[in-house]
Amino acid sequence: MHRARLGIRPGTWLSIAALFAAALTASPAWAEDPPASSGWGLLNLPVGVTSISKEVYNLHMMAFWVCVVIGILVFAVMIWSIIFHRHSKGAVADVTLVHNTKVEIIWTAIPVLILIAMAIPSARGIVLIGDDAHSQLDIKVTGFQWGWQYTYPGKGVSFVSKLDERSMAASDLDSGISPYSVPHYLRNVDHPLVVPVGTKVRLLITAVDVIHSWWVPDFGIKKDAIPGYVNTSWFEVDADKPGVYRGQCAELCGRGHGYMPIVVDAVSKADFDAWVKKEAAAEKAAAASASSS
């Protein structure tokens, strides 16, 4: 019959495997924040800037490493068979090796135990994310085709946040404008959401037309915006991590699904209070001039 020979000695295979294992374990890229500017280096979830995002990252890495270890063990057995139990090398099949109840029980029970060990911290994570009580700031988020409306109840602030002009222009079919020439192409808006750091912010999320989803990876949260529902989600940006954080709509909502990003500007509490006053005044003035004209 057909002989498939590889002609590589077992010792060489073992060296290759050892090198691979060394590269994998030696690489620090998995444990630290990847350099955000480089596309090739973007391989993993962000650790993020909230307690939720860090908990999520840890759960993700735990699950990942469990899978890697199990994978290495199982694939090692398969690869061993592929190399050493070959017909072309004269291996003779052991046709008595056909069932073993004890082994079936063991390789059922051990995975169950591993899963229980994984489920416990995961369940804690669910409870943490679900605890949106005692928020210090509530913001209503309304998804529409295609952008987000943000309302700060009781503060007189309400505005629409849409894809910025430059991204919009460059994104047309055959626009002739290079996406690389647009800062934060497809991830920039005309009017970002502003929140204070070190403050528990609760979002009240809904939609007016179809289902959308509000997602900021650095916050570790995602929640669908559904007409007829008010979903809640909470986050607290670490006090020492002010900055601009970007996300996208994460539920297919029509032609503009890829064109309704989210930009959050996390600022100090003092800056936030100042911004609210300014914003409320600006909106009042705009409303007055609109009604008088």
């Binding site: 019959m1 699950a63 079936e104 995975p111 899963l115 996406p179 497809l186 007829g228 032609r255």
Partner: protein
């Protein structure tokens, strides 16, 4: 029609003359022979595979670079929607029915399926269903663009294509339900004497269980899409919040179908791999009964995990906990199967013809898809993965290197039995290596893209996603092109392959199909197999 009793090994070419088999177009349009119907399903599924594949090539061409270069955003959404619908309902599911039709009667020692005319109807519904669906590209508003998952309210925004989509789904559903009934009745009633349930090949077992899943959940899909139809045309408000309805209820109903659906697409693959690996390890399947029970467990569990597709809709904490635990639990019987296949190889005598190559690639790559599935089960982490390319990577690992590679393994394994000729082994290995390598180039980087923050179903992306998208697209073009080798190889085999000597094309192959001549006679097992034949073929 007159039947001459035959002794053991003589289901011979003479049959063709006694047959009064119709010729020309009538043979196919009025087919009641399971082999002819199986062939039609397989040819149809191959056509649909290339249709869905063509849509994917345009998708990857658009995603090759940031910016829009090929299609506008609306057309892109139609492409992703139609790619999913065609691949799931047109390529994978009909391919499995084709393999079922060809192999189940032969493997249980039956002369044909129990309900041959129903079998004919089940097939012929499909070309009409897909003509309807595919012609939606031409109507005002173009093809449906709400995703293959068809969530309202979005899906209700698409004009003339909407009723075409719903009726096509209904037709496909009826075809599947009737086919599944046929499989159950055939297996329960037409097994040859001595072919007890626990002596059946695992391919037959997995199809028996799959049929129960189909009968249970295809009507649920029909219900979901009918409610959307009445919402749109008859003023009901099942899913319309303004009328007192609930968009999330659609998701619950859809995924109650949708999760068992993905097991419908993979369980027969488990069956094929459970035949191929023992054959090419020259060793019986390890743990036959455990494999049957594991398959049944997976099927049962598949009914109670549906909401893991909906973790971000705003489920209460208790629901999140339940569905997370149930979903994680599916890893147990699935792992048992992977361990049993590995144990089958262990201390076997392995050779690496194309069926085995595809089965081994399945074993490695489906397992990787299973790992990303386990990660997706972890609810807090899923909040980051949901609706990103991480999910896209996961389901393509389980559906392409899982289901599709298993289909190819089955075709490469059984083609000599169907055609009576051996195919070009070198070409088969080229097809395998190109597929296996470029599949990974295409889909592995999508894990990175999802983790880095790229949502799914978007035609354009921020520039930090450009590098891996380019790699993925190159993989896509190469993978797509290399699939052309497959129908070419089959056609070349039929035209000019070397005739197979004897009944057993593969040294280690076991099963009743290998007791028949190659090609298998038009009517096989008109006389039931003997106990000796069944014992020789018994899986354990």
């Amino acid at each position: 029609m007159a039947e001459t009793p035959h002794t053991e090994v003589h289901a011979h070419a003479e049959d063709h003359d006694h047959d009064h088999k119709p010729h020309g177009w009538r043979r196919w349009v009025f087919a009641t022979n399971h082999k002819d119907i199986g062939t039609m399903y397989l040819v149809f599924s191959c056509l649909m595979f290339f249709t869905g594949g063509a849509f994917a090539m345009v998708i990857r061409a658009e995603l090759f670079k940031p910016g829009l270069q090929v299609v506008d955003a609306g057309v892109f959404n139609s492409l992703t929607t139609m790619h999913g619908l065609v691949m799931i309902f047109g390529a994978i599911m009909p391919a499995w029915v084709g393999l079922a039709n060809w192999m189940i009667p032969i493997q249980i020692g039956a002369p044909d399926m129990a309900l041959p005319r129903l079998n004919n109807l089940s097939f012929w519904i499909l070309p009409f269903a897909f003509a309807l669906l595919l012609s939606s590209w031409l109507v005002p508003g173009s093809a449906p663009a709400g995703g293959w998952t068809m969530y309202p309210p979005l899906t209700l925004q698409f004009g003339a294509s909407f009723p075409m989509l719903i009726f096509a789904i209904h037709m496909m559903g009826i075809s599947s339900i009737l086919g599944a009934i046929n499989v159950i009745v055939t297996i329960m009633n037409l097994r040859a004497p001595g072919m007890t349930l626990l002596r059946m090949p695992l391919f037959v077992w997995t199809w028996l269980i799959t049929s129960f899943l189909l009968v249970a959940v295809m009507p649920v899909l029909a219900g979901a899409v009918t409610m959307m139809l009445t919402d749109h045309f008859f003023g009901t408000s099942f899913f319309n919040a303004a009328g007192g309805g609930d968009p999330v209820m659609f998701q619950h109903i859809f995924w109650f179908f949708g999760h068992p659906e993905v097991y419908i697409m993979i369980l027969p693959g488990f069956g094929v791999v459970s035949e191929v690996i023992p054959a090419f390890s020259r060793k019986p399947l390890f743990g036959y009964e455990a494999m049957v029970y594991a398959t049944a467990s997976i099927a049962f569990l598949s009914f109670i995990v549906w909401a893991h597709h909906m973790f971000t809709v705003g489920l209460p904490t208790s629901a999140l906990l339940f569905f997370m635990f149930a979903t994680m639990l599916i890893a147990v019987p699935t792992g048992v199967k992977v361990f049993n296949w590995t144990a089958t190889m262990w201390r076997g005598s392995l050779s690496f013809e194309p069926p085995m190559l595809f089965a081994l690639a399945f074993l490695f790559l489906f397992t990787i898809g299973g790992f990303s599935g386990l990660m997706l089960a972890i609810v807090p982490a899923d909040f980051q993965y949901q609706d990103t390319y991480f999910v896209v990577a996961h389901f393509h690992y389980v559906l392409v290197s899982g289901a599709a590679f298993a289909i190819m393994a089955g075709v490469y394994y059984w083609l000599p039995k169907w055609v009576g000729r051996m195919y070009d082994m070198r070409l088969g290995k080229w097809h395998f290596w190109l597929s296996a390598i470029f599949f990974n180039v295409l889909f592995f980087p999508q894990h990175f893209l999802g983790l880095a923050g790229m949502p799914r179903r978007i035609p354009d992306y921020a520039v930090q996603f450009a590098d891996w998208n380019m790699v993925s697209s190159i993989g896509g073009f190469a993978f797509g092109l290399s699939q052309l080798l497959f129908p070419y190889l089959i056609w070349k085999c039929v035209r000019s392959g070397k005739p197979v000597e004897g009944t057993r094309a593969w040294e280690g192959a076991r099963g009743l199909e290998w007791e028949l001549p190659s090609p298998a006679p038009y009517h096989s097992w008109t006389t039931p197999p003997t106990e000796a034949m069944i014992a020789r073929g018994a899986a354990h």
